[in-house]
């Protein structure tokens, strides 16, 4: 029983951060129809920026966030403005290939600067544990869970009841009509991309303590994020958080109950099955 609880708890904690990663991608897809295959490499970049700040100024990742978020958002704006925006409206597959190219550039840019050795960024809470009954939780995971949900709720409120949020939803539902109503579609797309990248920078810091990082990890994060976004039904933000939990829990169960290999396979098997039998995602109602 304690094993079962442990698996659930671990899965929920990690899954919430996966959900947060996926929210950024879902938002971008919603307003511009772009699927960013370099998503995971931006996460990687966020992690390595934290590492750089630690080695230069010995900042804790949780403090570095205040520097990495604006830096990454500026970078995201530039990337969107000069690389992705010219491609919007072209063939969908060209954007996939463009972001795959971008992924190679980011991943190997990081490799050239930081080298290929796995690195760790220490944090004060790194090895602290929290014990609830029979369940042992790592404090960084608990922090990640809290911040992820707080941010998700914040985003949700923002989408519901601010002008910017409403313009995002308007562009998502019908970009043409939104433009006619005076919404600056291009600006909404850029800001959404920047917002998504900013969220990534936070998620990167949340995932960082206790996790060895290396430049080649980006693709794995991209894949996990894609799985979550698709499970959540692409643009349904509640569904996406739920999808994060499903992937997190299936991964935790797989590694605790099955062998490592089968555990690692679990999320993919679940993904393929859901993709085939519920292609519209996990939730029943659509977000529109």
């Amino acid at each position: 029983m304690s094993e079962f609880l442990q698996a659930i708890a671990q899965g929920v904690l990690i899954g919430s951060t996966y959900g947060l990663l996926a929210l950024g991608m879902g938002l971008l897809y919603g307003v511009s129809g772009v699927v960013n295959f370099s998503h995971g490499d931006f996460i990687s970049l966020g992690m390595f920026l934290c590492l750089a700040l630690y080695s230069a100024l010995s900042l804790d990742p949780y403090v570095s966030v205040f520097i990495t978020v604006p830096v990454m958002m500026v970078l995201g704006t530039l990337v969107f403005r000069f690389l992705i925006r010219p491609m919007i409206g072209h063939q969908f597959l060209m954007i996939v290939q463009l972001t795959l190219g971008l992924s190679l550039v980011l991943q190997n840019g990081i490799l050239m600067v930081f080298g290929g050795q796995p690195a760790r960024t220490p944090s004060v809470v790194e090895s602290k544990l929290m014990i609830l009954g029979e369940v042992v939780l790592r404090v960084p995971h608990v922090i990640a869970f809290g911040v992820s949900f707080a941010l998700a709720i914040g985003l949700f409120i923002m989408l519901r009841s601010t002008d910017f949020g409403r313009s995002i939803r308007a562009v998502h539902q019908n970009a043409h009509a939104a433009a006619l109503m005076g919404v600056d579609v291009g600006r909404v797309q850029v800001l959404t991309f920047a917002l998504g990248i900013g969220i990534l920078a936070i998620a990167a810091a949340l995932l960082l303590p206790g996790t060895p990082i290396q430049p080649t990890q980006g693709l794995r994060y991209t894949i996990i994020t894609l799985l979550v976004v698709v499970l959540g039904g692409m643009t349904n933000f509640v569904g996406i958080m739920l999808g994060g939990l499903v992937i997190g829990i299936s991964e935790a169960f797989g590694t605790i109950y099955l062998s490592n290999t089968l555990g690692a396979l679990m999320p993919y098997v679940i993904f393929v099955l859901i993709m085939l039998f519920r292609p519209q995602g996990l939730t029943w109602s659509s977000s529109r």
Partner: protein, 325 residues
């Protein structure tokens, strides 16, 4: 139909280039020979991917799975069960083809959109990688070491160096020729119709399932065969090289840079980028690891933004402008 194909087959230019290429190893040092062999491997792989990704317009990211099966399974069959590698090549190609058929069937049966197809194939590729790394029969994470190449053709050994070069040249030529043949056969027209408008294709009676499966099976089996030949040349079957999504991404990028859906486009992309990357890696690999991938990324972004139809079309346009003047 096949007129164009026979024209290619009987074209003196084609055979001239091939003969000249076949004489290359006599003048190249072993370092450059290695680079040319690698380029040919990627010419063959990118051309095989082009059948699905370029002509049928379906970005399949499962190619590493087929390459991996061709490489790892045939090596495992030889080392663990003593099965001759020629037979292993056929078994692997058959399994890859069958898997390709299953993926194409899933795509058709569940009417996946473009994005879903990309993701499902990526999921299959990832699962393949995880299985190889976790299963000792296929070498696990440490890979498999093939016996030394003694040049015994019956055991799928070609004596390294020159022998490997000729085998790769033949394979690359066959893959490009198959591209020419398909493009000029009804299959090629059907695939392009499916790419351009699947619903319209169905409405005029194109059997979508049959042609999607055909494209995927041919593409998968070819990739598997190239995988077997590649691993024989490398001698060491490295799962992190052969069944990682990176090799698929490289292939997709080479094909895009050269020109998707064209017979010679992917070959052009691979012939330009692989030598560039390898030479950069040789010169700067120790000080700046990853530089060649970085440059691939920059090149593909530039090509997509500037000439989205690929370099082949760009060169053709420039050539015709220049001639008209």
């Amino acid at each position: 139909m096949r007129e164009e194909f026979y024209n290619t087959l009987s074209s003196p230019v084609w055979w001239g280039v091939l003969v000249l290429a076949a004489l290359l190893p006599l003048v190249l040092s072993s370092y450059y020979l290695h680079i040319v062999i690698l380029s040919l491997v990627y010419v063959a792989l990118a051309s095989s991917w082009n059948i699905v990704g370029g002509m049928a317009g379906q970005i399949s990211l499962a190619h590493s799975l087929f390459i991996g099966i061709g490489a790892m399974l045939s090596s495992a069959l030889l080392l663990k069960l003593g099965i001759n590698m020629w037979l292993g090549l056929l078994i692997s190609a058959a399994i890859s083809g069958a898997l390709g058929a299953i993926i194409a069937w899933i795509d058709f049966r569940f009417r996946l959109g473009h994005l879903s197809f990309v993701l499902i194939t990526l999921a299959f590729a990832e699962m393949g990688g995880i299985i190889v790394e976790g299963w000792d029969f296929l070498g696990g994470a440490s890979g498999l070491m093939l016996p030394r190449d003694t040049g015994n053709y019956l055991a799928f050994q070609f004596g390294g160096g020159h022998g490997a070069y000729w085998v790769m040249l033949a394979l690359a030529a066959i893959c490009v020729l198959i591209n020419v043949a398909i493009l000029n056969a009804p299959l090629g027209y059907y695939l392009r119709t499916i790419r351009d408008n699947e619903k319209a294709a169905q409405a005029i009676g194109v059997n979508i399932l049959r042609y999607k499966i055909a494209a995927m099976v041919i593409s998968a089996a070819l990739a598997s065969v190239v995988g077997t030949a590649y691993v024989r040349y490398m001698t060491f079957a490295d799962p992190y090289l052969l069944i990682s999504p990176v090799i698929t991404i490289e292939i997709v990028l080479f094909a895009t840079v050269g020109g998707l859906g064209r017979a010679y486009g992917p070959a052009l992309g691979a012939l330009l980028l692989v030598p560039l990357g390898e030479i950069l890696r040789g010169k700067l690999g120790s000080t700046l690891p990853g530089l060649h991938y970085f440059i691939y990324g920059v090149v593909v972004i530039a090509v997509i933004l500037l000439t989205p139809r690929g370099l082949l079309s760009y060169f053709e346009l420039t050539w015709s402008h220049w001639r008209r003047r």
